[in-house]
């Protein structure tokens, strides 16, 4: 189910070449026009713009580009609109103007974006507003295509007109006589028929007679009308006439039965009783659905209100009919309205596809998916007649002419560009394709124990937007179906990302520097279900703050959930007690400060405008200069690059991962992993992970031919690190880098084979920017209260006191637990007890006073005699004490679900274990509104399962983090 990436690739390929073969796959295909519906995966093979094969699978040759829209998608024929309004709203001055040709109104240069977005691929062009007895000749065109002429399906569909109320107001016709004469001046205005149904019938009779040469009505209708009409009648061109009421229908049928001319009846809004008559007459019918409006029809009980039963009556009487909306974009909605009177969905869908094509005389080309027909498809993310569903893609002649996600991506990139004022700040290789996803499952486990059966959730912009039995399907939403879904699991204490190191960080160490976006191992863990990790170092019992992060986030911003999310302490421990003792004073000081600050802000002193503004201006100017310089440079670089490429063949890009165990500073077998991304003109950026250094080092450098020089980007205090490498790339062996590492005055030789050509690392926040902001904050105006000194431990305790941070306390024995909980209760803090193996023995004294308990090892113990299994988590949970699972491991976090599954088997409930993995774990970190549950506003971290959660046999099928599918 790699829909995302393969789709993007295929779409790109399609854009490049035109008349290529293509296979389109989806869960369901409605072929329409009598074909059998294909479900549970089906495909269409389009060759040279025509459908070559359709079925469960198609015999397309290997390598044919494929578009897979997933099992949640539905393919229908491109919709056919028997009305468009794309011509013009102007009618001829004549009541009968058969010489007006709609094809002259056809504008192939317009972008019919709204129609394509509605899945409409073929439309009827009216010769005008069609408020005339004969408005002219219609045409049928496709909504997109390379060849403007090939887009025209029919240049003339025959005559189009109306005998209904809309055609009763033709203005008087006046043709001046030149030169004017004394007796009649410039001539008179001729009143034009019709004003009534009978008038319309008489006028039609006269016109037909005129056309056949059975009478001269040149004065009434003009000579040209007769001539053109005569030709059309001789050709046997069909008449498409509008009739709204039963009387009009009856009159038309009678007239045309006598004349034996082909007729298409359009309208029928207020003709509920004509079905039987139409069935006998056997003319094609286009049923016009009335646009919902706030129109007053009058209090008269006989007022002509639109009937909702027309469509159902037609169906009952065996009349085949097309359904017509009021615009191409309303087509599906109109079909939905037609179903109100009891019409089945298949007939309704046929009405806007096959039957519509039939009524327009183009059913041999479009309107149904059969071998040999045009490759015009609409792909929906739900049933095509579900007005809430939207179009994922529209294809005409086997070419994608609308792709919802491409449009979305384009739009968002543009908006980002507008917002930043630059050329967009999208990461280098990771495409941030904005995805709107609907997960539709039989069991939706929200995390807090509630299960929706069936359930759906909608993710958009990285968050869950809607959860319910049925959610909306906005434009471009990809629907993914499965058996069950649950929230991503939270590892409440883990070491994922430490890479075996056990560094003793200083208290102020910025843990974010450990993060490596795009790391494959991180992604593996996420794929196993653990989407959030509360990262801590192994070194205990030093008091450290933790970092809550999402291993599969696409960049550092997306990864960090909360920096300094929790404080890890231990008990009994002198400093813990001391900190608790200091807390009261600290709280007092800060409360006072905040109060003072709030008051100061209420009545701020007048700022000193000159200084700041001057400085700001200068800063701005400086920035401007910088940016313009940068711009110039870029241009220059671009030119240089071009020149270079002319001089010598382009060298193979060095982008990728280079990895080996090397000897560093005398120590053997040290990890050394370098990842590089080559940008414009040989500019390099990358990251380095070294065995003898705890941080991830960010590098930047330059490539000159096969010589590479990299320097560590400035981190706090600077880092004297440089790499001088030679890139070897020949056909005989794997590409590798070879050279020296200059680090802290020592020199080491390294040889690094390339292990991958991928560089999925996305952008890190720009440190320079942050510095600038900090500087501005430094300028504090006079009179502002001074903040008390900040102590990060006390601060975390204070935040925990306020409920916005967590305190984890490592404590074991019964008596210690009691003492610890008492001490924290005095400080007004509910701690999370970690490794508290005997907590279940003291439930009474800790219930309601702790935020939760995390055990190390299995929660299941056996009684002294080894006969009775005791599930400690079950006991704690039933006493109202939340529990959660922690891995205390790196990639071991991948096993959390299995551990919980095992624990749930013994004397516990699956729902309880699920809570412990998700909602309760998040709540312990005070992140219940961001991760760990499926509710609106939470991050889009979702696991799709092929069975009920926490069953040994259940597998994870798909994982989303921040609404983006995680891929290996």
């Amino acid at each position: 189910m790699r829909t995302l990436l393969s789709l993007a690739c295929a779409a790109l390929m399609l854009g490049a070449s035109s008349a290529q073969d293509l296979v389109v796959r989806a869960g369901t295909i409605y072929p329409c026009g009598g074909g059998d519906v294909l479900t549970n995966g089906a495909a269409i093979w389009i060759q040279g713009g025509k459908i070559k094969a359709i079925g469960k699978d198609v015999p397309a040759p290997v390598g044919t580009p494929e578009l897979d829209y997933g099992m949640g998608a539905v393919i229908a024929p491109g919709l056919v609109s028997t009305r468009s309004g794309y011509g013009s709203g102007v009618d001829s001055a004549r009541a009968a103007a058969p010489f007006v040709q709609a094809i002259d109104n056809y504008n192939p240069y317009a972008t019919y974006y709204s129609a394509l977005r509605a899945g409409v691929t073929t439309v009827f062009l009216e010769p005008g507003k069609t408020d005339r007895l004969i408005a002219g000749q219609g045409a049928v065109v496709k909504m997109a295509g390379d060849d403007n002429d090939a887009r025209i399906l029919t240049r003339s569909t025959g005559l189009v007109g109306s005998v209904a109320s809309n055609a009763r107001f033709s203005p008087g016709f006046w043709e001046p006589r030149l030169p004017a004469t004394a007796d009649i001046g410039l001539g008179f205005e001729n009143r034009q028929f019709p004003r009534t149904v009978m008038g319309a019938v008489v006028a039609l009779k006269e016109l037909i007679a005129f056309a056949r040469g059975d009478g001269n009505f040149a004065d009434e209708y003009g000579t040209p009308a007769g001539e053109v009409l005569g030709e059309l009648i001789q050709q046997g061109a069909p008449w498409r006439l509008r009739a709204e009421t039963d009387e009009e229908v009856a009159a038309l049928i009678e007239l045309f039965a006598m004349g034996k001319m082909p007729l298409v009846i359009e309208g029928l809004e207020r003709a509920p009783d004509s079905a039987a008559l139409l069935a006998r007459a056997n003319y094609p019918v286009i049923y016009q659905v009335t646009e919902p409006s706030l129109q007053d029809f009058g209090k008269d009980p006989d007022a002509e209100r639109p009937s909702t039963h027309v469509a159902a009556n037609l169906k009952k009487n065996g009349v085949a009919f097309a359904i017509q909306g009021w615009s191409p974009t309303s087509l599906r909605f109109a079909a939905g309205l037609a179903m109100r009177g009891g019409l089945d969905s298949q007939t309704a869908l046929d009405g806007i596809t096959y039957r519509a094509a039939e009524a327009l005389g183009v059913a041999n080309r479009v309107g149904s998916l059969q071998v040999g027909r045009d490759g015009d498809l609409a792909v929906f993310n739900g049933s095509p007649l579900d007005a809430g569903a939207s179009v994922l893609a529209t294809l005409i002649d086997g070419k994608v002419v609308y792709d919802a996600r491409e449009v979305d991506a384009k739009r968002k990139a543009f908006e980002a560009k507008q917002a930043s004022g630059t050329t967009g700040q999208v990461g280098p290789l990771v495409e941030r394709v904005p995805v709107t996803t609907v997960v539709s499952v039989q069991e939706l486990h929200l995390g807090d124990g509630e299960v929706l059966r069936p359930g759906e959730l909608l993710m958009r912009d990285g968050r869950i937007v809607e959860v319910g039995a049925r959610v909306s399907r906005p434009a471009g939403a990809v629907v993914v179906q499965g058996f069950a879904a649950m929230p991503g699991v939270v590892d409440v204490l883990g070491h994922l990302g430490m890479e075996g190191a056990d560094p003793r960080f200083s208290k102020t160490f910025d843990m974010k520097r450990m993060l490596e976006p795009g790391d494959w191992l991180d992604r593996e863990v996420a794929m196993a279900g653990t989407t959030t990790v509360n990262l801590t170092s192994r070194s205990q019992p030093l008091e450290t703050a933790t970092l809550v992060y999402k291993p599969a986030g696409v960049d550092v911003d997306a990864m960090v959930v909360r920096d300094q999310g929790a404080l890890l302490m231990s008990w009994p421990n002198g400093s813990t007690a001391a900190n608790l003792a200091k807390l009261a004073k600290y709280n007092e000081d800060w409360d006072a400060y905040e109060k003072a600050l709030a008051e100061w802000e209420k009545n701020p002193p007048a700022p000193e405008p000159e200084k700041t503004s001057d400085k700001d201006k200068k800063d701005e100017e400086a920035k401007k200069e910088e940016s313009s310089e940068e711009g110039d440079k870029k241009d220059d670089d671009g030119k240089k690059k071009k020149k270079k490429s002319k001089d010598k063949p382009e060298a193979v890009p060095v982008t990728g991962a280079f990895e080996a165990q090397v000897t560093l500073a005398g120590k053997e077998d040290q990890k050394f992993r370098l990842r590089l991304l080559e940008g414009e003109a040989g500019a390099l950026e990358g990251t380095l992970r070294m065995g003898d250094f705890p941080d991830l080092v960010l590098l930047e450098g330059k490539r000159d031919g096969y010589k590479i020089r990299l320097d560590a980007m400035t981190v706090e205090g600077g880092l004297a690190l440089a790499l001088e490498l030679n890139f070897t790339d020949n056909d005989e062996e794997l590409p590798f880098l070879e050279g020296r590492r200059l680090f802290r005055g020592l020199e080491d030789t390294v040889v690094l084979p390339r292990t991958s050509t991928e560089y999925p690392v996305a952008k890190r926040p720009d440190p320079k920017k942050d510095e600038d902001e900090d500087k501005q904050d430094d300028k504090e105006p006079k009179g502002k209260p001074k903040a008390p000194s900040l102590d990060f431990e006390l601060d975390l305790l204070r935040r925990a006191h306020q409920g916005s941070a967590a305190i984890f306390v490592r404590v074991d024995r019964e008596d210690h637990i009691r003492a610890c909980v008492d001490a924290f209760a005095d400080a007004g803090i509910q701690p999370v007890l970690v490794s508290a193996s005997e907590a279940h023995e003291v439930i009474d004294s800790i219930a309601g006073r702790v935020r939760g308990v995390i055990l190390t090892g299995s929660p299941v113990t056996t009684s002294n005699r080894g006969l009775v299994a005791i599930n400690r988590y079950a006991r704690l949970q039933s006493a109202g004490i939340p529990v959660a699972f922690a891995s205390f491991a790196e990639e071991g976090a991948a096993g959390l679900i299995d551990v919980a599954t095992l624990a749930a088997l013994e004397d516990w409930s699956t729902q309880g274990a699920l809570r412990a993995l998700t909602v309760d774990a998040a709540a312990m970190l005070s992140l219940q509104d961001q991760v760990g549950s499926l509710k609106a506003g939470c991050g889009g971290d979702v696991l799709l399962l092929d069975g009920p959660p926490l069953l040994p046999s259940t597998q994870i099928q798909q994982v989303w983090v921040n609404g983006l599918e995680v891929q290996r």
């Binding site: 709203g89 102007v90 009618d91 001829s92 010489f99 002259d104 002219g136």
Partner: protein
């Protein structure tokens, strides 16, 4: 008798006065037999520019042009010595509806009208043309029409239309873009109908002739003349055009005057200036031209954005006149990003002859449009051709205007620098070998720059008192 004798000299004097007046306005300098211009540079538009050249002309035509050392200036020629100036043929305006009182009729089909009846020789427009170096103007009716009047090529000099006229009935204006109140379809239907009407009219004439009911036949019979001998005089269809059975026997005098210009169009003897405001209508324009056989004598007058249909136009080999908006701006429906297309370049790349037109008679006149086109990347030669030789060729006047060569009309403009530079100004304009404009003597510029009133206007007065007399005092009087 006495009365009469007294009056006669007066009348004569008045007549004579009016004649001299007209002459002095029309030709202030007494026409010299021979004129010579010695210019630092001569851009002839017929080969490379000539440095230090001489143009020799008689009363109307250019006699010779070439380097100073190769041309002997006759002793009796009046010499304009301009060693620092650049001489160029006057610009040619390919299509404009300036200079006439109103752009369009309300009636749909009026090919029997003629803009000659509408041109106002003293329109300020013509004066501006001199100031900006335009010496040939194709006046056509506006675009809000179906079939409009026949146009005329004029020069911006002369007291009467006849004096201005270079080529009468230079073409007939049509439009496939909907005029107000019409759709593209009804517009096309009206246009097609006009030709259908012509055809049925001709068929009717053929029928009448066959039955011996035509007027010429009847008159000949009545006067006892030999009709069969003289009927060949007026053949209706002498060019290409449709073949109607027996058509060649229709005497031209029989054809309805109101239809005659369309007959000429169909015969290929009258150019059609077909306005096409949007690319979607290019197809219709070409179709109608093909149906009625005037594709070869049609010029498309394009609106903005028509470069999109350049392929169709190139295939039909129809020349075009571009509108004043050189750059077409399009907004992406999704991203709202703007795409800018310099249209002339597209036509250039497709090999379609194109002419540029002025936006107004003032600063954004032809020189400005050509300069902007160069700024957009068009070559200087192509830009200059688009305002001189190309429009001249479109009118069939390529040997007369837009070029300085022996035999061509002596329409020459002298600039004090590069004609496409914003710093250069038109110094002298010669039309038909006569100096008709001298910047140092331009009364309106004098008024503008030096405060001198043009001759014949009210004496200089304080501006403030003028306002008072027109508003303040007038009101007071009314009240009193």
């Amino acid at each position: 008798m006495k009365l009469l004798s007294n009056q006669l000299p007066l009348t004569l004097a008045a007549l004579a006065g009016s004649v001299t007046l007209a002459v002095t306005f029309a030709a202030p300098a007494v026409a010299q037999e021979k004129q010579a211009i010695k210019a630092g540079t001569i851009i002839t538009m017929d080969g490379a520019p000539i440095q230090n050249g001489v143009i020799l002309m008689d009363g109307t035509r250019v006699l010779a042009v070439g380097p100073a050392d190769q041309i002997e200036i006759p002793w009796d020629a009046e010499v304009t010595d301009a060693p620092d100036m650049v001489a160029m043929p006057g610009f040619v305006e390919a299509h404009t509806n300036s200079g006439i009182d109103r752009a369009n009729e309300t009636l749909d089909v009026t090919p029997f009208f003629d803009v000659q009846d509408s041109i106002n020789p003293v329109d300020f427009y013509f004066e501006d043309c001199l100031r900006f170096g335009i010496t040939t103007i194709n006046v056509q009716q506006g675009n809000n029409t179906v079939i409009a009047a026949m146009g005329a090529v004029v020069k911006p000099w002369g007291m009467t239309v006849d004096a201005q006229l270079v080529m009468p009935q230079s073409g007939v204006k049509m439009s496939v873009s909907p005029k107000a109140g019409k759709s593209a379809a009804t517009q096309a239907a009206t246009l097609r109908q006009a030709f259908a009407d012509l055809r049925s009219h001709l068929e009717q004439l053929v029928e009448e002739k066959r039955q011996g009911n035509d007027r010429a036949h009847r008159e000949a019979l009545a006067q006892g003349r030999d009709y069969e001998g003289e009927d060949a005089k007026g053949r209706a269809m002498t060019g290409k055009g449709w073949i109607v059975e027996g058509m060649e026997l229709v005497p031209r005098v029989e054809v309805d005057e109101k239809m005659a210009p369309l007959l000429k169009v169909v015969e290929g003897r009258l150019t059609v200036y077909m306005y096409c405001g949007a690319p979607a209508q290019v197809r219709t324009a070409l179709d109608i031209a093909k149906e009625n056989g005037f594709l070869e004598n049609m010029i498309l007058v394009l609106g903005s954005g028509c470069f999109k249909a350049a392929d169709q136009i190139a295939a039909a080999k129809v020349p075009v006149i571009l509108d004043e908006n050189l750059v077409f701006v399009e907004v992406d429906p999704i991203t709202e990003e703007e795409t800018r297309t310099f249209e002339a370049q597209v036509f250039k790349d497709k090999g379609i002859p194109f002419a540029l037109t002025s936006r107004d008679s003032g600063m954004e006149s032809l020189w400005y449009q050509a300069a902007m086109a160069v700024g957009q990347g068009l070559s200087r030669e192509d830009a200059l051709a688009a305002v001189t030789t190309v429009p001249a060729k479109l009118m069939g006047l390529e040997n007369r205007v837009g070029v300085i060569k022996p035999g061509a009309d002596a329409n020459i403009v002298l600039y004090n620098g590069d004609p496409l530079s914003v710093r250069s100004q038109v110094q002298h304009v010669f039309i038909d070998g006569q100096k008709v404009y001298d910047r140092s003597n331009d009364p309106r510029l004098k008024h503008l720059f030096e405060g001198q009133r043009p001759p014949g206007t009210a004496p200089a007065q304080d501006a403030g008192s003028n306002v008072e007399s027109s508003d303040g005092t007038g009101d007071k009087k009314d009240k009193e």
